[in-house]
Symmetry: C2
Subunit: 735 residues, 2 copies
């Protein structure tokens, strides 16, 4: 067996991160998601994560004065944690200090949110009514009573989703020439054993001992304690204790949860019955593939594994060269214990994931300069520890200052920002939040979540992680298929190889029936292990190996070490990966909230100000009356729009024109052409109305389809159109 | 309880169909797929359906002479079947005659196929190699040994699939303003109990008694008998008997299969072990939704149910008006016992389904005239019975002659034909085959399959059925939610209502604890049942009802009948449905076979002649050499193509230009721009090559992107471009 070069990435991190990383426990088989935090991009912060408000707004000095003491408290505690870690203090002390830190962070975040100017207009119930009424989406199987966590998209939601995915495909796959795949959702068990999902993709649940109803343990504890805290007569120490638990709720172990539930004597909030101890519940839907019932399978919990198991084919398709990116759009499934928050936590959802495979020693990106000047709100791990607010800076600065680990990660963050804002996310309600070290898997270098602020708090819509390729290694181990890439060395290199030379007869004689297992074990050692064995055999003349739970003493008679040098031109590397992962339903929800509007002075006229690129229809065509003579012009316009691929809706239902405008606004149609009686005069003209400004112009029927096409495709602005054509001011109020 | 109008559709059928329909057993709860033929559009004819060859080709009189006696034999037997049915002969006699008919039909079809000119060039293994090599698609989880019936689409297949679905969306949804939905794949059990899938969506399987391996019973019998028939020494009567079984293999009952297996002493073809009796195996993947394990669910076996359960919302969205069409694109799942034939029979697949809801009394279509003149190969049920070949006729004639039931069905058949041929299906290997009455559910009026001829025989790619809305009725029954539409009557109408008036006290006294159940039962009677009760109460002074398995005698003291008239302006109707259902994977497979080409005289240069609309990339950009000075022009072209939304691939890998052309041909890129050294001269020019003709022209670099865009979008033909620009004849052979 030969050993090639094995390269170790040295991530460059800000000081805080280095400290925290070094203190991390380095488990040997952590999957790509963290234990107890299964949803690597759907983090559990949905409800509790409610900090750092209107990121782009000016800071009010009065507010700042209130927040400053809280910020100082966070910073003080952050420094204590750093110091303890540097001093390698006992783990129990560090844990306590981190819990204190979290409590202080939460107090700061809560106060920040409290002090923010409230959006008086926003009413979630009304918005959800409108979404339901216009069938953007609604609960699935409602006529059968519905199933929690399952939603159906109606014509408007479906068209918007299709447009969003097309925009995604264009923005990422086409512009970056990514390799798109479309893989099986049914996944056999061995794949998900290797990825770690079978063992660890779970939440803790408790069961009503009488009726069997299930609750998510952390949700239950959270609700119980929050209710407790509303009691004004509560003693201060009890209050403090409850608040402390709440602040660390995401990191509790099974045992801790069980003990808290006992301490507070928690019962089922529905029946009042006793509850079971917390048990781990795997979130994957299982099924059986084929008729024998022996092939166990799951519905995939993420699309990424489909890319990893196809890595070899994709690398070949890319002619063996790194870097390259693969992408997949498709549905994934998670059997949530108690789905809630509408589209935000569901059991079946569409994801779009990218795996950008690269040389871990070269994370530069040739197009980084295209995004380097973008000014983006970043909430770095360091700032979070220091109690500082979100900081707006250019990606160029952030990469240079090593706040963002490298160019490629920064490039994708820029592309994500551009995509989100193009599709209707409000840039003032958007931020990137860096994972604290305790949120990251141990092999990750850096991870940022694109978060959108909604009435549910800050919700994670896109995860963007830079990490080593744990999954490729796991699949390689499970299948024996090599999943690495060859890297051409800049110049040939002399490499030392070490190889154990075994005296198989001696080993066989010594260990009898176990001989073969020992031989296989030694043959599979990596370079470091062989070196260690060599040192031991030289120093102590023996080396112990543990095979199948039994120890065997290896002596110099059994193994000698051969060393030789070889000139190599390429080296095998396991690629690193930058992984942007998009939750399409969450992005849609954030866009709905960010684009929800109400006409001033008319509470009934509510609508969505969706940008044309994702609006379900781009244009409406409205004949002013049902008179037949307008029909010819209406069909002419409809035909011309179809030829230009402009999705549109003819509304000849005959309500008043004002009511019809309201109806087309409600389904977010950005442009409306109205054919009126003046349209009959030659040359034929019609009016064009823009949804948000409600302004109208008049132009010739021949020109209008092209104008709409240019507007819808962003080739022309409404301001430009307004300046070129005569304003029209009559119809809106006319019958 | 009141009874509104209930309308009965009287389907107009050709004589044969009428006869066959009338002889059909009218079960009361048949689901929309036939028992033992679960795959309503993926029929089981995949392999055996191999008749009626090159439909558009001229008929050779010599071939005709050979086929005529076989055709006569079919016709003769068809006439016997008709006569028996007209005479209402015993069912066993009809069954025997139908079996004979099928044997004769198969002999005719086999001979037709045998006599067809063979495509000497076509080699499926080589084509599949190319598909694998260029990663159009391949077996899923191959590094784990693969799973039968699961496939992953690679970059080329995925782009082609996305283009095909976009074309579908544009052709059907946008042009027809259909309501698209995107519904949950996870489906709770009650929905699929109502639709009949839980009870009947199954195939028969047999199990190896020793090792548990499973086989599909019909496949096993088929393989066994086909092997038997290759024995040349076989006695004629044995041969005939085996052939007869083969010809009716799709319709065998469980008992018949068991008895055949015994007769022929069939064993496992793999191990030689004994086999179990056939048992029904449900083809749905089951799982459990939520943590309690009590909510049983399935992965949907078709997308249509998502539309039916949303009918009420969709009707409201359409402002209560019929007709309207809803559509859905998405994955469905079928746990095939033994998947085979590559993409044709798989366990997870993408469908695109349309449900066009209409007034069953008015099936005219305003746009039928747009397709009426299309000449399309039709294989009607009548012609199949008469042993006649496929007939090419216009849709207008076919509807007028009632070969196709109505305009709306004909309209969709025309739209399907246009879609398929636009996307690369060879019109000479395409036909519509009408279902024979024994293939249709009893409430269906007419059903045609769009079939493509491949090396697997004729395969069904699209089903197009006209049927009553069985599913809406079933879901209404299961949920109590009204799923009907209101129809405005042309003029008000006086309708008689009959209503049972119950003396609840008398009933209660008579039936004690069962009284309430009897009252509920009577209240739920429909108009016909109330009339029957009325007659019985008048004639015999009693009427027996069976409630919960117990009989109760109703007397005139308990119930009187109230009759009254009312003027109504609308009536409630359960809509009829025209249902085109597309199997996307099968269509893709047919397109691959139909577009597979080999350059004359060069067996190595194989490629796919995909039309630009579905080609993975529309254009390649090839610098003739790796010299840096060509790069500027290459990036300029690439940028311009991106701006025009033209997907393209820059291949600067530096192989010879001929080899690179071959490589881009293999992934079906229809157009290629080559930047050569002449490109450096001002004004800059480059060459443009078309894949199928391999001809090249030279044009300016500024113009080329627009030319490609026009070609790719069908706005301009290659012939037109050839006639406008100078031909270029040098590069192809140059280094």
């Amino acid at each position: 067996m030969q050993f090639g070069l094995r390269l170790v990435t040295q991530a460059v991190l800000c000081k805080t991160q280095r400290v925290l990383l070094s203190a991390r426990s380095l488990g040997t088989s952590s999957p790509r998601f963290l234990k107890h935090q299964p949803e690597n991009w759907f983090s559990k912060r949905g409800k509790r994560q409610t900090s750092a408000g209107n990121t782009m707004a000016e800071v009010d000095p009065k507010i700042d004065a209130i927040l400053q003491p809280l910020r100082d408290a966070v910073k003080q505690q952050g420094d204590i944690v750093r110091k303890l870690k540097e001093e390698k203090a006992p783990e129990i002390d560090i844990k306590r200090a981190v819990a204190d830190l979290k409590t202080k962070k939460k107090a700061l975040e809560d106060k920040e949110l409290e002090l923010e100017p409230k959006d008086a207009q926003f009413d979630r119930v009304k918005m959800e009514d409108l979404l339901k009424q216009r069938f953007f989406y609604d609960q699935a199987f409602a006529i059968y009573g519905g199933v929690n966590g399952l939603y159906d998209f109606g014509p408007m939601g479906c068209a918007m989703k299709a447009n969003l995915l097309n925009a995604w495909r264009k923005h990422f796959i086409l512009e970056e020439q990514m390799l798109e795949v479309d893989c099986s959702m049914l996944t056999p068990e061995p794949v998900l054993i290797a990825s770690g999902h079978v063992e660890r993709f779970s939440d803790y649940m408790v069961k009503d001992m009488k009726n069997g109803q299930c609750f998510r343990a952390d949700h239950l504890i959270e609700a119980h304690l929050e209710k407790l805290l509303t009691d004004k007569k509560l003693a201060d120490d009890v209050k403090e204790k409850a608040a402390k638990i709440l602040s660390v709720i995401d990191g509790l172990t099974k045992e801790e949860m069980g003990s808290i539930m006992k301490t507070y004597n928690m019962k089922s909030p529905v029946s009042g019955n006793d509850l079971s101890e917390p048990v781990a519940f795997n979130l994957m839907f299982s099924t059986s593939i084929g008729p024998t019932g022996t092939v166990k399978g799951y519905l995939r919990p993420e699309t990424a594994q489909g890319i990893f198991v196809n890595f070899k084919r994709l690398l070949e398709f890319n002619q063996g060269k790194l870097p390259f990116a693969a992408a997949q759009i498709g549905n994934s499934f998670r059997n949530e214990i108690s789905p809630r928050s509408g589209l935000i936590r569901v059991r079946e959802f569409t994801m779009a994931e990218i795996e950008h495979f690269l040389d871990p020693e070269d994370k530069s990106h040739p197009r980084f300069k295209d995004v380097a000047d973008l000014r983006i709100p970043l909430h770095s791990a360091c700032n979070q520890l220091d109690g500082k607010p979100v900081q707006v800076m250019t990606l160029g600065e952030a990469v240079e200052q090593k706040i963002i680990n490298n160019q490629t990660l920064g490039y994708f963050m820029g592309r994500i920002y551009l995509f989100m804002t193009k599709c209707g996310v409000d840039p003032t309600r958007f931020r990137f939040r860096q994972h604290m070290s305790n949120e990251m898997a141990h092999y990750a270098c850096d991870c940022w979540d694109a978060e959108c602020k909604t009435s549910y708090g800050w919700i994670e819509c896109v995860g963007c992680a830079d990490r080593s390729c744990y999954d490729l290694k796991q699949h390689q181990k499970a299948t024996g298929v090599t999943l690495s890439a060859s890297k051409q060395l800049p110049e040939p290199k002399t490499v030392e190889f070490v190889e154990p030379q075994m005296q198989k007869g001696v080993i066989g004689k010594a260990f009898k029936k176990d001989g073969k297992a020992v031989i296989d074990f030694i043959a599979a050692m990596d370079k470091e292990e062989v070196e260690a064995m060599d040192r031991a055999l030289n120093d102590r003349k023996e080396f112990a190996v543990t095979v199948n739970g039994q120890e065997f003493k290896i002596t110099p008679e059994m193994v000698s070490i051969k060393r030789y040098e070889k000139t190599v031109h390429v080296e095998d590397i396991t690629p690193g990966v930058i992984e942007p992962s998009f939750g399409i339903g969450r992005i849609m929800y954030a866009i709905f909230e960010h684009s929800y509007r109400q006409r001033e002075g008319d509470e009934q006229r509510r609508y969505f100000s969706l940008p044309p690129v994702i609006a379900p229809y781009k244009c409406s065509v409205l004949p002013l009356s049902g008179k037949a003579e307008l029909d010819t012009i209406v069909s002419q316009l409809s035909k011309a729009l179809t030829n230009l691929d402009i999705s549109h809706k003819v509304d000849d239902s005959g309500g008043s024109i004002g009511r019809r405008y309201a109806r087309t606004d409600a389904i977010a149609i950005p442009f409306g052409i109205t054919v009126d009686f003046d349209s009959l005069k030659e040359p034929h003209t019609a009016t064009l109305r823009e949804r948000d400004t409600m302004k109208q112009i008049r132009a010739s029927v021949d020109e209008l389809p092209q104008i709409v096409s240019d507007l819808a495709n962003g080739r022309r602005s409404w301001e430009d159109v307004l300046s070129k054509y005569p304003l029209f001011e009559q119809q809106e109020s006319s019958k």
